[in-house]
Amino acid sequence: MILGLANTWVAIVLMMIGLYIVIAQGNLIKKIIGLTLFQTSVFIFYISMGKVAGGSAPILAQGITEYSNPLPHALILTAIVVGISTTALALSLVVRIKETYGSIEEEEIQAQDES
């Protein structure tokens, strides 16, 4: 089964794309978007771990014997809403930075701080 780990690999690649955006790109909004990608890759990783082959959604019903693991679902469900609140906090910081420095590019902000 060569594709048995494919979901994990894709999650890792997505995570690295997010990390690359955070490190390499100077625009603060782009950095926040990179963090969102990073976050979503973790969600994908958790949810893939919870899947059982042949299982069904963890809502009890007649005639279904095997269910996927409900624990990652409960964790990620709250993490998504917490994630959007923290993203909103980061975005409000960006708005304040834009008001103070007149720019949201990392390099310009640093140049203003040094001068």
């Binding site: 048995g4 969600f43 708005v95």
Partner: protein, 339 residues
């Protein structure tokens, strides 16, 4: 098989997000990314998660990013330094993580460690102990209620922090003259106004259904809260911010957000006082199952109230800031001058 197609699409969209310079296009791609990942969650049986990701990833987060981009402009400048260091760091970390996956259990194998500790108890005993068909709800609201309490408090704190960073004095807003620039959607687009009027009662009703049907199907306080907030924001967008703040004052929204957290916490205190552990709903009523039902109902209500009000609070915070900006725009530009 479906999951591989969806993962491939997700990868393509992520690469697009990395490559594009236009922040508006990136936001649109992020919205697509949210839709795709939510579909992936459906294919992975995580219907509750898909519910949340659909309303958050495609709805609220797109909206917040758009508001902020309307502050800051949509063009991203090219970074001047070469990204070799970042590329190096990312490659090394990625390789290490990929090496780490060689010990992971294969996708979908039912004897993986994750499926062998607490999960069988949740799946086999939750109907007897909690009496709710949706296992995710019983894990979220009963077995791990303390954990969820912490997360609700985090959401509430984030809401307060956003308010602290973005709030503008209401005097500054009301004293200044209303601008007579061409107003937004609510005066020009009569079609949107009528369709929104038709849809809004339906969305509110549907949010209530999601809130109270969460025990039996996908849904619950988090999802319902986000849908409620989205409906309210739709109202604010189509009829104007003033109309929306006339319906519910921002102060009332802040109050209700706090009431939600308090309601959640006081259910825990009530279980303590009636002789159980913190969030042990068995002791709320004489019949343990009825106690569990009451406890889950109350804390889902608390979660719903807090999430709705925090989301509305955040969006109003950004919109009011933007409005104050537009009124001061001329002054600011002349103040700042060329650097």
């Amino acid at each position: 098989m479906i999951n591989f197609v969806l993962l491939a699409l997700l990868l393509i969209v992520a690469v697009g997000i990395m490559r594009l310079q236009d922040l508006f296009a990136v936001t649109m791609l992020l919205s697509i990314y949210g839709l795709m990942s939510a579909t992936f969650f459906v294919a992975m049986d995580a219907v509750d998660v898909a519910f949340t990701e659909a309303s958050v990833g495609a709805g609220i987060s797109t909206l917040l990013l758009l508001v902020v981009i309307s502050f800051t402009g949509r063009a991203e400048r090219k970074t001047r330094h070469k990204p070799y260091v970042a590329l190096f760091v990312v490659t090394v970390i990625g390789m290490l993580l990929l090496y780490g996956t060689s010990d992971m259990p294969y996708f979908g194998s039912s004897d993986a460690p994750i499926h062998n500790h607490v999960a069988p108890r949740y799946i086999n005993d939750s109907m007897r102990e909690i009496g709710v068909p949706n296992i995710v709800t019983s894990v979220l609201a009963s077995y791990r209620a303390f954990d969820t309490f912490g997360e609700v408090v985090v959401i509430f704190t984030a809401g307060i922090a956003v308010l602290g960073l973005l709030s503008v004095s209401s005097k500054a807003l009301s004293n200044s003259q209303p601008l007579n620039r061409p107003r937004g959607l609510y005066q020009q687009h009569i079609v949107i106004r009528i369709v929104a009027k038709i849809l809004l009662p339906f969305i509110f009703l549907f949010a209530l259904y999601v809130q109270f049907h969460g025990d039996f199907g996908p849904g619950g306080g988090f999802q319902a809260g986000v849908i409620f907030a989205a409906a309210f924001i739709l109202y604010a967008m189509t009829f104007g911010l003033d109309a929306a703040t006339a319906v519910v004052k921002p102060a009332v929204i802040e109050l209700i957000a706090a009431v939600g957290v308090l309601l959640y916490g006081s259910v825990g205190i009530a279980t303590l006082l009636s002789g159980g552990n913190f969030f042990d709903y068995d002791y709320l009523l004489a019949d343990p199952i009825a106690g569990q039902h009451l406890g889950i109902l109350l804390i889902e209500l608390g979660v719903g109230l807090t999430v709705t009000c925090v989301m509305v609070m955040i969006c109003f915070g950004f919109s009011l800031r933007r409005k104050a900006h537009e009124q001061k725009a001329v002054m600011n530009i002349s103040e700042r001058g060329p650097k």
